[in-house]
Symmetry: C2
Subunit: 202 residues, 2 copies
Amino acid sequence: MAEPRYQRRKEQRPQEITDAAYEVFAEKGYASARVDEVARRAGVSKGLLYVYFRTKEELFKAVIRSVVIRRVDALLLAVEETDLSSEEFMRGPLLEFMRRVPGSPVAIVIRLLIAEGQRHPDLVDYYWDNVVSKGLGAISRFVGRGVERGEFRDTAVTELPQLVLAPVMLSVVWRILFAKRELDTDKLIETQIDMILAYIKA
Amino acid sequence: MAEPRYQRRKEQRPQEITDAAYEVFAEKGYASARVDEVARRAGVSKGLLYVYFRTKEELFKAVIRSVVIRRVDALLLAVEETDLSSEEFMRGPLLEFMRRVPGSPVAIVIRLLIAEGQRHPDLVDYYWDNVVSKGLGAISRFVGRGVERGEFRDTAVTELPQLVLAPVMLSVVWRILFAKRELDTDKLIETQIDMILAYIKA
DNA sequence: TCTCTTAATGACTCGTAGGTCAGTAAGTAT
DNA sequence: ATACTTACTGACCTACGAGTCATTAAGAGA
């Protein structure tokens, strides 16, 4: 009559483990995260974890990938398919997206990459290919389109899409380091968009 | 006739050790840095290192402090004492200072803090008090002075000095992660100053 | 119900790295 | 010269945590 000590759930295990690993890595960082604790939080033995992930490093990579994969392409698609004017799009969907980043798992991933990136160059490449490169490219093409349409002047912003993201980056770092100290990240990001638009509008 | 195996240099040792430690932490990050290697590079035994620094963590804190202390107050003083117009100052000394940051040890310190800050809150406080708070305060007062003089309009920039530093932050992170990929950080920072000035000039 | 496959366990190993301390020799005072 | 202090050494200790594997039991199939 005793309940079974565990259930077999081959399919779900990897996801359950990466979810738990995300939590632990987010709290502790890579080096201080304990594989035992990941296993514990996933409700699984350490041995089983090692069935699904060959090493701690593999687990780490799987976590980064799973976070990244889940939310990248939505915005990129929106950029290509919108029928808003360039200014409306920047003040609407793009602004909204940028606002969300500092509070999202992406911020955690950025922290982990900054801390560990040096020793995981292939991870950095992966992140570059799937997030940064795509994102910057989309913004760049988007601004370029505004120029073609005569909405925008041709300025340095076209080849420096990083300008748009700069306050997002600062907000991410701010939250990581200075969570206690207040900073109106929404207003920061919005003002940047304001400034850029004032600067490039034809 | 043999040379002495070592010289006694009580006064210089701590500095020599923190210099070596800075190098190793910069290359490896805190967790992967080995105390043995720090000692080796400092040309000192591990035992002696532990005479001057009680733990690895104390050593880490000493490194951060020594980097921070060396170069903070110069700019702040310049802000208070300049007789340039606000615009001239922003395009001159301030721009020059911001350009230097991404390639300086400050960038390394930021990386270490992002990675390890969670477990060293007192270090973050220290950095806040001695660098961030002072720096932001100076920029804020400086912009405020421009407003008083009638050079600038009163905009969100006055209470969001972070806007000025946003591209510096992005440049720092960019260098940490994407050193290979080119980014004209000078132009990025300069364009931001351009944009801000266009935005706030009366 | 009995057998068989394999998902799952957890006690174990073993390298590693932070920290210690008994001993040594550089430099100083007499 | 000799005695003395203490900066300095480096072999050692020990805790800890990544990774292993012999064993167990869930649950499917006959």
